[in-house]
Amino acid sequence: MQRRKIIHIDMDAFFAAVEQRDNPQWKGKPVIVGGMPDSRGVVATCSYEARKFGIHSAMSSSRAYKLCPQGVFVKPRISDYQQVSRQIHSVFLQYTDLVEPLSLDEAYLDVSQLELFKGSATLIAEDIRKKIFQKTALTASAGISYNKFLAKVASDMNKPNGQFVITPEQGEAFVAQLPVGKFYGVGKVTEKKMHEHKIFTGADLKNKSLQQLGRLFGKSAQYYFDIARGEDHRPVVTQRARKSIGSETTLQSDIKDENEIKHILQLLTEEVCVSLRKKQLCAKTINLKVKYHDFEQITRQTGLDNYSCDERLFFNVLCLLLKKTQIGKKPVRLLGVSVSDLGADVLSSSFVQLSLFDDKGD
């Protein structure tokens, strides 16, 4: 198989950079986009100046304020960011249609078939970053490699405003020295679990057999097995279907009472089901997210036998999931409900409930 050429483009401190661009007086200052310091919100993005103070995204804004009281705290202007994101996306499309957006400020591009710059992905990436800067006055970093996993790791190497290449020859050696925590798809929990089993780097991971990994990580074993060898066969998917639908809320104050929590879960479930119905989707997996008052965050999930969008069923499943948490014992700060494994309900096509009123007149 021909080696692919994948570019991962990641905007530098995107929300904060947009704010600094639009408010020149904030240039060179620590800018923190997210919740206000006196709120219970969190940092969405912060400028590189703010990162020097130890601030990072997902940190509570109040903590960020303690670290850097002189910081400029700004509420996110999502619609503005979306507009910039569309500009960036239009730049990508000048090069290839094979663009997979990951979020407003990140995307994979498959440039394997491009003849531009004699097919040099490195030069293409540089050109894309230059164009983005011309169009938006914002900088981006790029990772270039032969699969998505390595391209993503690479874009982090020379941030901000830089790029990094991992060639097929370097891939395995590069992964071998990489701490597992840097692997895409390895979160804090998995990292800890890997450390417990003396897996600290890609090399350690590679020493495990697929069976050993399977016992430890179940379904994800194959992915870890592959990436430890610098392999990742996931294609660049241009139009991804939505993977999950969810709703979450940071509570006005920490709640310990289980009934109150159930009530909030019910409201969240309703919201999720309304969105499901609007999209005429059903789900097969239900996820509960809980952040405790001490910011410890856990998720619990259950799979269903069949696709469903039944609110009561979801709520009952969530109540069962509650038992696997410390709810009732430990105050809760944030609750989230999401459903994934989405699919159109195959049965819905065979049952059509007719309506009393034609939709026009009423």
């Binding site: 109150e260 009530h263 909030i264 409201l267 309703e270 309304v274 069949n306 469903s308 969008c309 039944d310 309900d345 049965l347 819905s348 065979s350 049952f351 059509v352 409930q353 007719l354 309506s355 009393l356 009123f357 009423d362």
Partner: protein, 366 residues
């Protein structure tokens, strides 16, 4: 302010109004009930800004004044005290002390002036009706209301008064319940209001199965119901209710008359294997035979046959079995009449001894 009251005299009005208190409030005052005292009565008010419920106990009081107290806590305290306990309540600043026997509770109060009251209602039309009549009218229709439909005007019960008739109509867009009662009223042009779901539930809880009269006051934005010792007020849903007259079919077509209980049991039996979500079942009408069929996603099947008197066209039509069962549960009549034109038209269900009610169900295409 300081007063004493018998546990039951406080508990009863609290239980009447507690439904208005939301479990999760937007305003701190909404967690509280307003307690007003004058020489000869005690009034308790609860609201969620959408509905307001007031309950009155007429008796000599040894103080006058107004306070607000946390509704659920006060209710729980009253419930927990022994029967016939005497409760002493005293208010000092922002604290209230509830004392009974050797139990003492200190509760936080909020000033009565913080307690929201609904806007003054301007009466457009008023009528009186026995409680049992209004209750029956609402019970027989409310089950068809929509829940959280984007067509917000369906998430409630429509009351229409005019020409000496009071009508209640509820629909979720798939089925409709209609019921009418003659009332002593001289309004000629009809007046329509839509009561929101929550209000319907609370009003039904208040209405007794008695001939005691209730006064219904219709305003432009509110409905208010007054009983001797209770008052219920609800904001109305501001919207145009669909024209129900257009969707109630004429009483002609293939007619099935069947024992209510028998049909109910046959439907319930068939429904065991209907799709849990869509609840679709197939009704097949042939000469003197009614066949019910259901099939679930695991391809398991139910087949139930019932002998009937039927000489209309053979017919095969799908319905949500829950819709039919809910209609059958509204009546105690022995017999139900179903009129079905064809597989794409609505089915009209009526009880011959209760022609005031009409139920319309749209079929399912199976």
């Amino acid at each position: 302010m300081k007063f004493k009251i018998l546990r039951e005299d406080l508990l009863t009005p609290l239980q009447h109004v507690i439904g208005a208190v939301e479990k999760r409030q937007t305003l701190p005052a909404l967690a509280n009930v307003l307690i007003k005292l004058n020489e000869n009565q005690l009034t308790i008010t609860a609201t969620d800004l959408e509905i307001e419920m007031v309950s009155v106990i007429r008796q000599m009081m040894d103080a006058t004044g107004e306070i607000t107290l946390p509704a659920r806590k006060l209710l729980d305290i009253c419930k927990s005290l022994p029967d016939e306990s005497m409760i002493n309540i005293s208010v000092d600043g922002d604290k209230a002390t509830i004392q009974s026997g050797r139990s003492r509770f200190t509760l936080a109060t909020l000033p009565a002036s913080d307690f929201p009251s609904l806007d003054e209602i301007s009466s457009v039309h008023e009528f009186t009706i026995p409680q049992a009549t209004l209750r029956s009218l609402m019970e027989k229709t409310a089950f068809s209301m929509a829940q959280q439909d984007v067509r917000y005007y369906l998430n409630g019960l429509m009351l229409e008064v005019g020409g000496g008739i009071l009508r209640a109509v509820a629909t979720d867009g798939h089925r409709l319940a209609y019921c009418e009662k003659n009332i002593d009223d001289d309004l000629i042009d009809s007046k329509q209001v839509i009561i929101p779901r929550k209000g319907v539930g609370e009003l039904l809880r208040l209405l007794a199965d008695s001939d005691d009269e209730i006064k219904v006051i219709l305003g432009n934005n509110h409905i208010q119901c007054e009983m001797s010792d209770q008052r219920f007020t609800s904001k109305l849903i501001d919207g145009r209710f669909p024209d129900y007259t257009r969707v109630i079919p004429a009483e002609e077509g293939n007619t099935v008359i069947i024992e209510r209980e028998m049909l109910k049991q046959a439907l319930a039996r068939t429904s065991i294997l209907s799709n849990e979500k869509y609840r679709g079942i197939r009704i097949i009408l042939g000469p003197n035979l009614l066949k019910l069929q259901a099939q679930n996603p695991d391809q398991e099947e139910a087949d139930v046959e019932v002998e009937i008197d039927y000489d209309g066209h053979p017919l095969e039509v799908g319905f949500n079995v829950n819709y039919m069962l809910e209609v059958l549960n509204t009546s105690k009549n022995d017999v139900v009449r179903m009129i079905i034109k064809d597989a794409n038209s609505s089915c009209l269900m009526q009880f011959p001894d209760d022609e005031e009610c009409k139920y319309v169900i749209m079929p399912m295409r199976l």
